[in-house]
């Protein structure tokens, strides 16, 4: 082989490498417009309760740990962490050299000030949940923070991914000021700064050029508040928005046909189910697992997902979503109306009559799906009174009641944990979580499940936790406290001019590193 040929080859290689470099690099963008539905009630990480708000705020305020689009925990403001052998404390090593956007350094003392604010008895922190099991917080030195617990919290790392536990500049949360109680303009360490907000219209973020990590492509990202799904669709079709969340479900097939658009049906963590009322005062036939299993066979989940939800869900194959830690597949109640009829007859429930309610507009095609389910149940010989529907507060008022006050036999509900761990998802099956203590509205009780879950919630060995959640899941699947329906997907639409829009499997979008295509 001649030297000239080798030289030519190396030139070609260098050239192709250069070419790859330019096409692979992200283009700089000016503005990304994202149309969302609800108007944020608050932008305070501590006070918020909705995923859309969490999405916006998490671009400004960062947490110790981050969930990536694959659903894996990745270090963010903490570079590593350690649990004590007895699980009674956690020590986080903080990323050094990070500054808040007001110039204050991010230190263990700053982190402690945030946790102190959250745990202050006067603070409103609806999503604090298990974090209240923290007893005290020590700033060991500048880069080490130690959380001492009242009892082991196995899901602590999951909690640390929630923006509820994100870090604000200590100057912006000085004790005794209004900002301590409520944040209008959070100041964090994130890749974007909150620069403008017009209530009811938009929230605008501007790139943080001092950001410690990789810099995003878009100079600004604007969240436009558009409550009507059809109007959001019009925005993306006319190119006036680059990304929209939740298009009208019935238009998903048409949007998928459009070459100028991309439809993302991201995996989610929200299980949609019908809760059987198993309160001692309820319909005695529904106390029988045999009857509940029969009804699970009576509903054609695949068909309803296809024709009513237009593919925006996947039928459940376990009592929780597959994106959660602790998930294992437990089976499927494949549609078989004859089997359902036989099982009902065998259980003496041929004349079963049930009262059924469902919300409207809370979950994707919720009431429409409930009507389809009612049809299937009727076909199996069940006398269905309903579905009746009402607005969300009234609905909660009907289902979130003490067992003795329950009035309906079957209700549709969606349940999505805030972080990708079974602990919060499984509260639905813990008898200690019956209303009003929690929202386990099927009033299901199985002592074996209760003890398995209690164990899994506190043990520190991940393999043992996984096993316990799996055993509990298998018991629950057999007991069928729910009519298991599907795990809802998270539909988004982007124009073809944008690339890099991702989703995190807890109903979140991730547009930080989106760029022009």
């Amino acid at each position: 082989m001649s030297k000239r040929f080798l030289a030519l080859l190396s030139v070609l290689l260098v050239l192709s490498a250069c070419g790859g470099g330019t096409t692979g690099g992200t283009k700089q963008g000016d503005k990304l417009t994202i149309a969302i539905g609800p108007d944020p009630d608050t932008l305070d990480p501590m006070r918020q309760t909705t995923t859309t708000v969490q999405n916006i705020v998490s671009m400004v305020v960062e947490t110790f740990v981050f969930v990536d689009p694959e659903g894996k925990y990745k270090p963010l403001l903490a570079t590593s962490w350690q649990t004590a052998a007895d699980g009674m404390s956690w020590t986080f090593t903080l990323r050094s050299g990070v500054k808040f956007s007001d110039g204050t350094p991010f230190t263990a003392a700053a982190a402690k000030a945030n946790f102190d604010r959250i745990l202050n008895p006067a603070s409103t922190c609806p999503l604090c949940g298990a974090f209240r099991g923290v007893n005290s917080i020590d700033a060991v030195d500048d880069t080490h923070l130690k959380l001492n617990l009242k009892q082991p919290i196995a899901s602590l790392l999951g909690l640390m991914t929630e923006v509820t536990f994100g870090f604000l500049s200590p100057n912006s949360i000085a004790k005794g000021t209004d900002n301590f109680k409520d944040q209008e303009k959070p100041v964090g360490t994130g890749s974007y700064l909150l620069t403008d907000r017009v209530k009811g219209d938009h929230v605008t973020l501007t790139r943080n050029d001092q950001y410690w990590g990789a810099k995003p492509s878009y100079k600004t990202q604007m969240f436009k508040i558009v409550p009507e799904a059809a109007s959001r669709e019009a925005l993306v079709r006319s190119g006036q928005a680059d990304v929209i969340l939740l298009p009208p479900a019935s238009d998903i097939p048409a949007l998928q046909q459009d070459k100028t658009l991309k439809v993302i049906l991201a995996p989610g963590d929200r299980t949609i189910f019908l809760a059987f009322n198993q309160s001692p005062k309820g319909n005695p036939l529904l106390q029988k697992a045999e009857v509940r299993r029969a009804l699970n066979y009576a509903v054609n989940k695949e068909l309803i997902v296809k024709s009513v939800l237009f593919g925006a869900a996947s039928p459940m194959d376990a009592p929780m979503a597959s994106s959660l830690f602790g998930y294992c597949k437990t089976g499927s109640y494949a549609y078989d109306v004859n089997k359902a009829k036989q099982m009902l007859a065998a259980a003496g429930a041929s004349n079963l009559s049930i009262k059924f309610v469902a919300p409207t507009g809370r979950y994707i095609q919720d009431f429409q799906a409930a009507q389809a389910v009612a049809n299937d149940l009727s076909a199996a010989g069940v006398k269905v009174d309903g579905p009746k529907t009402m607005d969300w507060p009234s609905y909660l008022g009907v289902i979130n009641v003490a067992p003795a006050d329950s009035t309906v036999d079957l209700h549709l509900l969606g349940w999505a944990p805030g972080f990708l761990d079974a602990s919060q998802a499984m509260t639905q099956f813990q008898s200690s979580q019956w209303p009003k203590a929690g929202l386990a509205t099927s009033y299901y009780k199985n002592p074996e499940v209760d003890s398995l879950l209690a164990k899994a919630n506190s043990e520190s060995d991940p393999a043992a936790r996984q096993k316990d959640y799996c055993s509990a899941s298998n018991l629950i699947w057999q007991d069928a406290p729910w009519l298991f329906l599907w795990v809802q997907r998270f539909p988004m639409v982007t124009t073809a001019k944008v690339t890099g829009v991702q989703a995190i499997p807890n109903e979140s979008f991730y547009t930080v590193y989106a760029s022009p295509a």
């Binding site: 608050t42 909705t50 999503l127 604090c128 209530k199 409550p227 109007s231 008022g397 944990p417 805030g418």
Partner: protein, 306 residues
């Protein structure tokens, strides 16, 4: 005149007290627990209880009512339970959008509606009359939701002329204002036509024509001015209603007005904001009615208020 205005303003006070009481009771008759709705489904009972206390909902109803009236007297509408911001701030940030939309829509509706009504009356039973009357019926009976979406499809998606939704561009107001104006326009045109027809048959109009007054002056000075009273009543009522926010129009076009704020607040059972808004609507109607009555006296010198 001054005493008349003073008397009317004073008589508005019991009206508004009635409105305040009715909305206070109605808000609490709605099923659902506001504290739970605001805290979300994942919140613990302790957090729900804390929010309930912050909202003052743990107190007996009559204490809540007393506190509500007491703060009202001090012109304090309270704090939104949902956003934690003062109600006056919540309404204040939305009201300019509603006023802007209402005024533009009303100006459109009044100018076009009155002119169309006059033209239809003058060309009674011709093609023009038929055209205008059909258009008025169209305007009154067209569902806003459908019309709004059709306009978005044509002007935003196909023609790329106007923004589909939002309020951040100067042209953003065009589609919501036109959609909103159509209903009032139809109503005003129909009222103008029938009122004008009544007046055009009167002796003084014939006299004015007979003495050789130019048509323009006959129509606008002699006829329209006398036909104006019922039209003004319709315009006043329409303006009052427009200032109350247009829920569907605001929702379809993502216009951040008070109509959407009201709906959001009802869905969150945010009592203070619902109360504040309904009181504001009540006050608007009292004021607009008073203004219309005062305008009567200006248009018709025979009317005196003492």
């Amino acid at each position: 005149m001054i005493t008349y205005i003073a008397r009317r303003v004073l008589s508005g006070v019991p009206t508004l007290w009635g409105v305040a009481t009715v909305v206070f009771v109605m808000a609490r008759l709605l099923p659902g627990d506001p504290a739970r709705v605001i805290a979300g489904v994942l919140a613990s009972p302790e957090d729900v209880e804390r929010i309930r206390q912050q909202m003052g909902l743990d107190k007996p109803l009559w204490v809540q009512y007393g506190n509500f009236l007491g703060s009202l007297l001090r012109l304090n509408l309270g704090t939104s339970a949902h956003t934690n911001a003062p109600v006056i701030e919540e309404i204040g940030s939305r009201l300019p959008y509603t006023i802007e939309l209402a005024v533009v829509a009303l100006v459109l509706a009044v100018t076009i509606g009155v002119l169309a009504g006059v033209a239809a009356a003058l060309r009674r039973n011709t093609m023009l009359d038929l055209l205008i009357s059909s258009f008025s019926v169209f305007g009154v009976s067209m569902p806003v939701y459908w019309l709004g979406l059709m306009m978005i499809i044509v002007f935003a998606i196909y023609l790329h002329l106007l923004p589909a939704a939002g309020a951040d561009e100067p042209t953003s107001i065009v589609m919501p204002a036109v959609t909103l104006a159509l209903f009032s326009l139809g109503l005003i045109a129909r009222m103008t036509r029938s009122s004008m027809l009544e007046v055009l048959g009167q002796d003084y109009v014939r006299t004015a024509r007979a003495k050789g007054a130019p048509l323009r002056s006959v129509v606008f000075r002699h006829a329209l001015r006398n036909a104006l009273l019922p039209i003004m009543t319709v315009i006043g009522l329409q303006f009052g209603a427009l200032l109350g926010g247009a829920v569907v129009t605001e929702t379809v076009f993502a216009w951040p007005g008070v109509g959407r704020l009201l709906i959001d607040s009802i869905f969150f059972r945010d009592y203070p904001v619902v109360q504040g808004l309904v009181l504001m609507f009540g006050t608007t109607f009292v004021v607009v009615n008073l203004l219309v009555d005062l305008l009567y006296a200006y248009v018709d010198p025979r009317i005196h208020y003492t």
